[in-house]
Symmetry: C2
Subunit: 459 residues, 2 copies
C-alpha cells in the first residue's frame, strides 16, 4: 500500500488511530490458533461512516481489508493472509440501548461480550452466548464467526440472539437487516447471511441483540463414571427425559487428568469420563429439574453424582473445565484443536473413533466439550518439531473430518472455517452448494477486498 493511501486512511480516522509501526502490526497478525503475515496498516475507525469511507477507499484502490475485534478466533478468520489493512473495531464499543420492556440490546461491534452481559444483568436480563473467551472477545467477532459456548444446549448460539444488523458492504454502502421485533419476514433474511460469514461479506457496525430474563437460580452437578461409553450415552438420555441443562459439558480421562489439580476434590479413582452439568431457571423449576435428574441417575448405579454445595464449589468445577484447553500444552507443545459437531446420539461413536485413532496413529487425542449439542472439542496433541508426529496429526485431522461427516456431523460447530479448514469444505458441501456460496461472496464483494482467502478452498 502506497504512503498516499496510508495518509488517506489517517485522514479518515485521525492519525493516532492508524498505524504502520512494526510492533503494532505484529499485534494484529495472530489469532487464538496461529500467527500469519503482518498487515500493511492497522486502522481503528470509530463510526459507521468511517468504516464506510475506508471501504470506499479500499474499493477504489483495491486493497484488502480484514475486519476484527479481539482476535480470539480459532480458525484464522481475522488474519490478513493477503496483506492490506486490518480494521480493528474495538473503539466502536458503545452499548447504545438496553430496552428492558422488549428485552433487546443495541450495541456496537466492539463491545466486549462480558460487558454486554454485565450491563444486561443490571436490568434483570441476560445475554446467553458465552464463548470461552467471553471476557475478551467482542460482539462483532462473535457475530462474524457465530460463536457458540457452554450454554448453547439450552439457549442456542450467537445467531439465535442477533435479530438485526447494520452492515457496511465492501462497496461502502450501508444496509440494515432484520427488525427490532421478534417476528419479521420483510424481504430476505440477510441477518443470518452476515452472522457467521467470517467477515467476508460485510462489516457489522451495529447489532440488535435479544436478551432473556435473568434466571434466578442455578445448580451444578458433577457426574463421574468408569465407563466412557456410558457417559457419552447418558447425554441424549438426559435430554430426552425433560431435563434441559443450560450447560452439559463432557471430558474424557485425559482431559480430567490435566485439570484434576484445579478441582477442590479429585474425581473417584478409575474415572473414565465426567459430565459437568448446570441447571438454571426459577427456583422452583430448578428444584424440579434437579429432582428429575437425580431420579434418572439413581436408576443408573454406574454413575457417581455430586452436587456442588456452594457457588464457590461450582465455580471451582467450571474453572477446571475452562482450564482444559490451556492445560493441554502440559502434554505436548502443539495441538490441532477441532470443534466438530455430531448429532448428540452419535457422540459415543465419535469418542470411540477418536480413542481408536489415537492408538493407531500413536498420538495423544483428548475429547471434551459441549456434549449437550454434540459439539465435541477434539484436541490432537503433538510436537511439531517431529515431522513424524506432524504427519500423523494431519492424518488424524483428515480421518476425524471424514468420520464426522459420515455420521451426519459438521466440520465446525462454532469456530468457523477460516483458513484452517477451508481445504476440507468439499467433504461437507457438494460443488453446487460451494458454487452458490462463492456466488454470494462474488455478489457482495466483486473485487474480493473484504477478508480475502477465507472459507473457500484455493482454486
Amino acid at each position: 500500500m502506497k504512503p498516499e493511501l496510508i495518509h488517506q486512511l489517517q485522514a479518515i480516522v485521525g492519525s493516532k488511530h492508524c498505524t504502520t509501526r512494526p510492533e503494532d502490526l505484529h499485534c494484529y497478525s495472530y489469532d487464538g490458533r496461529s500467527t500469519g503475515p503482518l498487515p500493511e496498516v492497522v486502522v481503528f475507525p470509530d463510526s459507521t461512516e468511517q468504516v464506510s469511507r475506508i471501504m470506499q477507499l479500499a474499493s477504489a484502490h483495491r486493497f484488502p481489508v480484514v475486519p476484527r475485534g479481539a482476535g480470539t478466533g480459532m480458525t484464522g478468520g481475522s488474519l490478513p493472509v493477503k496483506g492490506g489493512a486490518v480494521m480493528v473495531l474495538t473503539r466502536m464499543n458503545r452499548i447504545l440501548e438496553i430496552d428492558r420492556q422488549n428485552q433487546i440490546a443495541i450495541a456496537e461491534p466492539g463491545v466486549i461480550t462480558a460487558d454486554l452481559q454485565k450491563e444486561a444483568r443490571k436490568h434483570g436480563l441476560f445475554y446467553p452466548p458465552d464463548p470461552a473467551s467471553v471476557k475478551f472477545c467482542t460482539l462483532g467477532g462473535n457475530a462474524g464467526e457465530c460463536a457458540g459456548g457452554l450454554s448453547a444446549v439450552k439457549y442456542g448460539v450467537t445467531k439465535d440472539f442477533i435479530i438485526g444488523l447494520e452492515v457496511v458492504l465492501p462497496s461502502g454502502e450501508i444496509i440494515t437487516t432484520g427488525t427490532r421485533t421478534e417476528k419479521g419476514v420483510t424481504g430476505y433474511d440477510l441477518t443470518r447471511l452476515f452472522v457467521g460469514c467470517e467477515g467476508t461479506l460485510g462489516i457489522i457496525t451495529r447489532l440488535t441483540c435479544r436478551l432473556l430474563p435473568l434466571p434466578e437460580a442455578r445448580e451444578t452437578f458433577l457426574v463421574s463414571s468408569e465407563s466412557l461409553a456410558a457417559t457419552t450415552t447418558l447425554v441424549a438420555t438426559i435430554l430426552n427425559n425433560d431435563v434441559l441443562p443450560c450447560t452439559l459439558e463432557y471430558m474424557d480421562r485425559t482431559a480430567i487428568g490435566i485439570v484434576t489439580g484445579f478441582m477442590a476434590e479429585p474425581p473417584p479413582e478409575n474415572t473414565e469420563a465426567l459430565l459437568l452439568l448446570e441447571l438454571d431457571g426459577t427456583r422452583q423449576s430448578v428444584a424440579e429439574e434437579s429432582e428429575r435428574l437425580q431420579q434418572l441417575l439413581a436408576s443408573h448405579p454406574e454413575f457417581t453424582v455430586h452436587k456442588a454445595a456452594t457457588r464457590d464449589e461450582a465455580a471451582t468445577l467450571w474453572q477446571a473445565r475452562r482450564s482444559i484447553s490451556p492445560a493441554t500444552f502440559n502434554l505436548k507443545p502443539n495441538k490441532i484443536s477441532e470443534d466438530v459437531a455430531v448429532p448428540r446420539s452419535r457422540i459415543p461413536e465419535l469418542v470411540a473413533f477418536c480413542e481408536k485413532m489415537a492408538a493407531e496413529l500413536n498420538l495423544i487425542v483428548l475429547t471434551f466439550g459441549h456434549a449437550g449439542d454434540g459439539n465435541i472439542h477434539v484436541n490432537i496433541m503433538l510436537d511439531k518439531s517431529d515431522p513424524e508426529q506432524e504427519r500423523a496429526g494431519e492424518e488424524a485431522k483428515k480421518r476425524l473430518f471424514e468420520f464426522t461427516i459420515s455420521i451426519g456431523g459438521t466440520l465446525s460447530g462454532e469456530h468457523g472455517i477460516g483458513t484452517a479448514k477451508s481445504k476440507f469444505l468439499p467433504l461437507e458441501l457438494n460443488p453446487a452448494t460451494i458454487r452458490a456460496m462463492k456466488g454470494i461472496k462474488q455478489l457482495f464483494d466483486p473485487l474480493n477486498i473484504l477478508n480475502p482467502g477465507k472459507i473457500f478452498p484455493a482454486e
Copy 2:
C-alpha cells in the same frame, strides 16, 4: 407455453400429474387472500429429481415456475402472476424420519404441518410452529413464507425450527444447506436465505426440522378488562415477570363482539379487550408459572381472570380465537388484513392509532392477534363495491404501515410481502438493502423464472 413444453413436462412427471384443464388451472390461481391470473399448466412432481428436471426445462425455455403447497398464504406468494407453470409439491408428502434421540424430523415439503405434529407426538415430541392453517398448510409453504402462529411468543417461528434443507435452484442444480446438528458454522447460512424467500430463490425439496419434548401440562386463562390500554400494556408486564406463555393472544372489542357466540360464557359486560393466555411445560413448572401469573394479576384489580376448568372449556376459547378471521366477514364483505409487528411495549400505541384512524376514515378496524410477540393482525373491513370505502381502506393501509415503521415495527410479522405489500417495501428497507436483496435474487435466478413478480416493487 407451447404444447411441446407441456408434453415435456408430462414426460417428466407422468401425464396424469400434469394438467392444463381450465377447471384445474382455476384451482391453482388463488391463495388465502385473493385470486390471480390462471397458470398455463399445473405440474405435480414426486421427487427432487423431477423438480430438478422441470427447472432445467424452465431454464432452457424461460417459462415461469411458481412453487406452492396448499396455497393458504396471505400475500399472493403462490399466485402465478406472470403465467407459466404452477408446481404443486403436495405429492412429496413423506415424513422420512423421526429421530427421537436427536429430536429431529426429516420431511418432504408437501407434508401437512399438522401431520408432522401428529407424527412427532407419537414419539413424545412436538413441532411448535402452528399457523392458523396448520391442518391444511404444508411444511414447504411454511418454510417458504416463514410462517408464524400462536406459539411464537415462547417457541419462535418456522425459521427457528428448520436447521437444514435440500433445495433445487432455478438452474436445476441441487444444493443442501445446514446440518443435522444443533450447532454448525460451515460456510454461509443458506438455510435462512431460503426460509422466508417466498419461493423466489429455490424450491425446497427436503427439510430437517428441530423438534422439542412434548410438554406434559397446559393451562388456559382468559383475562378481560374494561380498558383497552390496560390490556395491551399488560402484555409486556407479564413477559417481564418471568411468565412465558406459549400463547398470548389479544382481541379488541370488535373482535370479541363477532365471536362471543362461540364462547360457552360471554365475557363480562363492558369488556373492551381480552387476553387469551396459555402456559405449557411440565406439571410443576406450569403450576409455578400459573401461580406467578395469578399473583401478578391479583395486584391489578382492573382485570378479571378466568381459568379454563377443563380442556373442553379451553378448546372453546381457542375455537373463539380461531373464528375471528372468518367471522369478520359478518361485518363487511371485504377486508384488508395486515400482520404488522411492533416491539411489544409499543402495542398500546399501535392499537390506539388504529382506533383513531378508524374514526377518522369512518372504517371498521379491528385488532387482534399475537400480542406476545407484537404481531398484531389489523383487519380493515370494507365493502369494495363502494369506491369511497375502497379508497379509505387503501389510505388506512398506507397510514398503518407508516405508523408501524415509525415505532420500530415491520410490515409483516409472518405473512410475507408477496404481491400484497411489495410497493411498501421501500418504507422499511433503504435502497441499498433492497439492492442487496435484488442482487441475491439475480444471483440465484438470473433468468427470473422462479416465482417472478414477488417481494420487490415493480421498477
